[in-house]
Assembly symmetry: C2
Homo-oligomer: 279 residues x 2
């Protein structure tokens, strides 16, 4: 009989994973009762740290774009790690690696950002083929890191559809030690598998493009609600950005209120999912 | 009657382009008689500058991965720009942008690397859909920059095939002010067009995975010769990496000899292409 991972609690699903970063994330989700990730897309270190310290209590994961920070130096990483310890969240550098194996191995380990040294989870586009996984894995696996593949994108006209998505999932199935899940808009259960074969892969699905107040932006991003994402599409983590921290990082009370609002909406949707009667 | 851009000289093709970076590259190719680009994938500033100063006289373009340089600070960019002036080559940061519009606009303009401020040409994966072009164009077009889309990849099992490649070319055709060509393994003439419609888009095709001595590496990269790429597949620029600078940046004479060898092979192939009788 096929396991329905979406009916299991986050805590129960820890045992489905061997990867340390996947286990860590599920443990935090269970412990803090949150499936909210905040995407912190600001260009100043001061704002970056302020927002993370404010949203920290409400999130299981902080998603970063470290390469947009203008005044980056490596001491910022120590501050980020201290906040990760203080508030108990995992770190996900949303690098979207997309090059050949040799190059991504260097981009992951080297340069001024040294992503592999601090980011528990990172992600990659499957477009170069399996060599991107081997390249990143050669760096990340010895450090206990995990990888998400971008099986789909939430933007208009995205090309990660159909056989592209299926191939992405097949690549992930072949590298379960390092690939812990997907950036996607729905569960990948059964995707890329032959008929009548049991799908025993419990992938984590992290979903961007989540909003409670808006349908999209001017640059092609489209939004769905936490309930649509967690219940209807059986995703696991909702990723929210400006919807939580707006445009002024100093509005601590407002940011905290929005973070709590999204955390509650995400957790309520999850409770509905795991308690729903089996059809 | 359909124009056969591959029979035109690089100099003749300048008039087919409105984008300043595309014009600049074609002017350099015509002036220096080279269609060779060198990909400089090293992690130390000293090696980076040494290799570029050595290969500079032989190349039309230097391809960088600025994010792998361990000891980067912005003064390195000034040195790179000085070498670009001294040796007359264009700069191509091989960033492979692959995110939504808002994010790539920040990654292109901001952070410690400020790519848009110095890289004449950069590239992007079309996988997020057209919003990636609008996001990058909002930053790059006012600066006279140009964009290449990754229509194909040279790695085993790459997913940039079939309709993905066709959609990439359609996206490019709709943004000719900013998209100057492709990273690809062959001409994109007629790709993504309806039958019996004339293709008047003169795209530049830059082709990685070129080698005279080897067939591939352990991480899925595959190689073809300059003649296969320029004559058989009607590409315009050959991109060569370790095949030219090997493992020791101090071997100046050897690197120079290899650069000249590839430059000659690339130019000979180009001469054969433009002088071949029309079938």
């Amino acid at each position: 009989m096929e396991k329905t991972f979406s009916r299991q609690t986050y805590g129960q699903r820890i045992q489905n994973h061997s990867n340390p970063a996947a286990k860590m994330l599920l443990e935090i989700m269970e412990r803090k009762k949150t499936n909210l990730a905040v995407s912190v897309d600001v260009t100043r270190s001061k704002d970056f740290i302020a927002i993370i310290d404010t949203v920290g209590p409400f999130v299981c994961l902080v998603k970063t774009h470290i390469d947009i920070i203008e005044d980056f130096d490596f001491s910022l990483i120590k501050q980020l790690q201290d906040l990760s310890d203080k508030h108990d969240f995992a770190i996900f550098e949303d690098r979207k690696f997309a090059d050949i194996g040799n190059t991504v191995a260097l981009q992951y380990s080297s340069g001024v950002h040294k992503i592999a040294s601090w980011s528990h989870i990172t992600n990659a586009h499957p477009v170069p083929g399996p060599s991107i996984i081997s390249g990143l894995s050669s760096v990340g696996l010895p450090l206990g890191r995990g990888l998400l593949l971008l099986a789909e994108m939430s933007t208009k006209g995205a090309l990660a559809v159909g056989t592209y998505t299926e191939e992405a999932v097949r690549m992930a199935r072949a590298h379960r030690d390092f690939v812990v899940g997907f950036i996607a808009q729905r569960t990948m259960k059964g995707v890329g598998m032959q008929d009548n074969v049991t799908d025993n892969d419990d992938f984590l699905i992290l979903t961007p493009g989540v909003g409670l107040d808006t349908k999209g932006d001017a640059m092609g991003q489209q939004y769905r609600t936490p309930r649509q994402v967690i219940v209807d599409s059986e995703c696991d983590v909702i990723i929210v950005g400006r919807g939580i921290y707006g445009k002024d990082p100093s509005l601590v009370d407002e940011i905290r209120a929005q973070a709590k609002r999204y955390m509650d909406a995400g957790w309520e949707a999850y409770q509905e999912r795991i308690s729903a009667p089996v059809v």
